[in-house]
């Protein structure tokens, strides 16, 4: 068993060797610019891109012409939200999203607020889920866009996408879903799920970093976007720039593999997640599950270990590559904005660990991880006066603290 054990599959995933193999020719002899119309190198690159578009479209039930390649999900999210806002801003200025979204959505929404848009940030429930009713209640005459993630990157909770999509379609409001954590993990069908815009990132599904795409619906309704990057008119004018051919080929192969193995991987992840949780919870008390038991990504387990400092825990288990929140906000020591939006309380928000399980995770790794977590949490709690008080039956919420703490 190789250390560190990687249990951070929501942050990024290793490139599947089969994906890399598909990419390699395009790092070698097939180096053409897909926009070169005059020779075989260009045609070959263009053909590779067009095959990739088909494969990706098939994975989400779209048509090839509805796929716009980007440098990743963050850019795709920016293009979807700003592209819609710029195109339909004259029709309405209201956008609905949630507090539990990824920073890419929240920061883009904040930017749009500065541009004169009015954004409603829904609170998810305690499990991290946003209800259709909440979206419906927030809808206004001038709502132009609902932007809600499919699977939460920190706690793994799934939103009721199909129902929200239907509501949006009934109301004539565009619906964008950040499906970065969902594609390749759960079945996705943009038709049945009533989605107008959806983003995919390759490096979250065993593809390379630096490539992703945006699905942009072409029929019923035909979604139009104002491009956010001009020059050359690639991607039907929606996104200019020389195409990252090897990356695109890798994204497509990653989609194809995930589609093929969706069932078996779902089972694999579920079994390992249950094993990990049971192994930890059988041996530790006061472990809190963050997320939704019913609507959940199989490969994501977010647990809080109250009365233990999250940072100390992370350092104690440094043989295991996990995260206390999303990688994109991990530079700050602030508690996760997702957990705060779920109103789980400070003790839980400050002591959470996200275990991300994926394609290459083994039982042996899970067992090693569980043992290590149990050992370190026990050790840290032995040093914790708070934990001692809890064991003595003191309800911490009733304690009248004096002085600083």
């Amino acid at each position: 068993m190789k250390l560190p054990i990687y249990l951070d599959y929501q942050a990024t995933t290793p490139v599947d060797p089969r994906v890399l193999e598909a990419m390699l020719p395009y790092f070698g002899a097939e180096f053409g610019n897909a926009a070169s119309r005059s020779h075989a190198y260009g045609w070959s690159a263009e053909e590779a891109v067009s095959n990739a578009r088909e494969k990706i479209a098939k994975t989400i039930g779209a048509s090839a012409k509805e796929i716009v390649f980007t440098s990743g999900s963050t850019e795709a999210i920016n293009l979807a939200m700003k592209g819609v806002a710029d195109m339909y801003g004259a029709k309405g200025k209201h956008i609905i999203t949630s507090q539990a979204e990824h920073k890419a959505v929240l920061d883009t929404a904040k930017h749009l607020e500065k541009q004169g848009f009015d954004v409603t940030y829904l609170d998810p429930d305690q499990t991290g889920r946003v209800s259709v009713e909440a979206v419906e209640a927030a809808m206004r005459e001038d709502t132009i866009l609902v932007s809600l993630m499919w699977a939460n990157n920190e706690v793994g909770t799934l939103n009721p996408i199909r129902e929200i999509g239907k509501l949006c379609h009934d109301r004539g409001v565009l619906f964008f879903t950040d499906a970065t954590q969902a594609v390749g993990k759960i079945p996705v069908d943009v038709e049945a799920d009533n989605i107008d815009l959806l983003c995919i990132s390759a490096h979250k599904l065993y593809g390379p970093k630096g490539v992703g795409c945006l699905f942009v619906r072409r029929r019923k309704p035909r979604v139009r976007l104002v491009s956010q990057m001009d020059g050359g008119g690639h991607e039907r004018g929606m996104r200019s720039g020389t195409l990252n051919v090897p990356g695109i080929v890798g994204l497509a192969e990653a989609c194809r593999l995930s589609r093929e193995s969706l069932d078996s991987e779902t089972k694999h992840a579920r079994a390992l997640r249950e094993r990990l949780e049971k192994s930890i919870c059988d041996r530790l008390d006061h472990v809190h599950f963050n997320g939704n038991r019913e609507h959940h990504l199989e490969g994501c387990l977010n647990l809080s270990f109250p009365y233990v400092e999250g940072e100390s825990l992370l350092m104690g288990i440094n043989d295991i590559a996990v995260s206390s929140g999303s990688a994109c906000t991990s530079a700050s020591l602030e508690p996760s904005h997702v957990l705060r939006s779920m109103k789980v309380g400070d003790e839980i928000a400050h002591s959470s660990i996200r275990f991300g399980i994926g394609r290459f995770t083994t039982e042996e790794e899970i067992d090693f991880c569980a043992d290590k977590v149990v050992e370190v949490v026990k050790r840290l709690r032995e040093l914790s006066p708070l934990y001692e008080m809890v064991l003595e039956g003191i309800d911490l919420s009733t304690v009248n603290w004096t002085g600083e703490h």
């Binding site: 990024t12 070169s36 005059s38 390379p208 490539v211 020059g231 996990v322």
Partner: protein
């Protein structure tokens, strides 16, 4: 049929290096670990993440060193197009309080020209500089368009269509005297690896570069700033690249880019001499054939050795292109980024060509991997074609 062989099984002569270049083995070898065992997200705080972060920092140093910039002023992007968009849109939007006048060069790539023109909708006035009657860049005429309230001047270092080199440092010095609040940007995508791109000597505020034009990977580029300058981000969320460019970094691409930039920088002198020789060889050969010539893209001003715009006679360039391709010589008409447009190139019209002549221009572009024998092979085919197409 593999693309490296033509129908007769002969080898192919690739002279479209301004469109893109093959990745060299040394660059690819540096990239592969980051597509293999070292897959961490650079924002992750565990050891795999820390390792990826360190790799990006090394690449940042490599890029900074080659451009005489500070590492913390290198902003990695998804390529040259994004870098140019970021410079134009980001700088103009950040400086709107100082004025709304923009000036872009006469032959800018669409990645500069298009975002500049798009700013019209945001209340900016966009002016496109003009060339002199002989196609030469006229410094005084260009500077006369600069105003006190000009907030952005963008002039490419070298043209992607005909290789003209523009006097960016002189322009920068002139602009500073007139427009104290202007952000001065240069698109060095084609110049990198062929000219010394020194951000201090150029005197500009930002330089855009791209990896795949210098034997690095597609999907990576950078905007390099001279110092801490105001710039509105194009992509929000996550706060990577000093919050100017969010999104998980393309680690393998960035590592390959760093290596490609370093190699280009180290081989610069030799490359320069070699490219000029190749271009001269082509020009001499064409003179011998007759009826065709390498265009002089601007009076007495210098041009890149890597790009030769060739004016053919007889049928339009498209016809030559097709026949050249059939015989294994791969060149282009205009830039790949305009390949889908059927209009005459503005950059060629700016040289004083008629619309009809502008359709008779082939672009031959070399890299440091190009050889004399490739040029000779191209000349042989051109000689055959000139006869067959009745151009003589």
């Amino acid at each position: 049929m593999s693309v490296t062989e033509n129908k007769d099984g002969g080898s192919v002569v690739y002279l479209d290096n301004a469109a893109t270049t093959p990745i060299v083995a040394k660059v690819r070898d540096k990239m592969l670990p980051w597509l293999g065992a070292d897959w961490g997200n650079p924002s992750s705080r565990h050891s795999l993440g820390v390792k990826s972060r360190a790799a990006i920092d090394r690449a940042r140093d490599q890029v900074a060193r080659a451009l005489a910039a500070k590492p913390e002023r290198v902003i990695f992007t998804s390529g040259g197009t994004e870098a140019n968009n970021l410079a134009v849109l980001g700088a103009a939007r950040a400086r709107k309080k100082f004025g709304t006048h923009l000036l872009v060069g006469p032959a800018e790539h669409p990645a500069v020209r298009d975002p500049a023109l798009a700013l019209f909708d945001e209340g900016f006035q966009v002016e496109v500089g003009e060339l002199g009657p002989d196609g030469a860049f006229d410094l005084d005429a260009f500077l006369s368009a600069v105003r006190k309230d000009t907030v952005l001047v963008a002039l490419m270092l070298a043209s992607n269509e005909h290789g003209a080199i523009y006097p960016v440092s002189k322009v920068a010095a002139g602009v500073r005297r007139i427009a104290p609040n202007a952000h001065i940007h240069t698109d060095a995508v084609q110049a990198l690896g062929k000219l010394d791109v020194d951000i201090v000597e150029l005197g500009v505020d930002s330089v855009s570069i791209s990896a795949h034009k210098i034997h690095g990977p597609k999907g990576t580029g950078a905007l390099v700033l001279a110092r801490d300058l105001p710039l509105r981000p194009l992509v929000f969320g996550g706060g990577q690249e000093g919050a100017i460019r969010s999104g998980t970094e393309n680690v393998a691409g960035i590592v390959g880019f760093g290596e490609a930039v370093e190699m280009a920088d180290q081989t610069l002198e030799g490359t320069n001499a070699q490219l000029s020789k190749l271009k001269q060889r082509l020009a001499d050969g064409l003179a011998e054939i007759g009826g065709m010539r390498v265009l002089n893209p601007g009076g007495s001003n210098p041009s890149l050795g890597s790009i030769a715009a060739v004016l053919v006679s007889g049928p339009p360039a498209e016809v030559y292109l097709h026949h050249l391709e059939e015989r294994g010589v791969l060149v282009s008409v205009g830039s790949a980024c305009q390949a889908h447009k059927n209009e005459a190139s503005p950059a060629l019209l700016a040289l004083g060509l008629s619309a009809e002549e502008a359709r008779k221009v082939l672009r031959f572009s070399f890299s440091r991997e190009s050889t004399d024998s490739e040029v000779d092979r191209a000349l042989t085919v051109l000689r055959e074609l000139a006869g067959e197409l009745g151009a003589l």
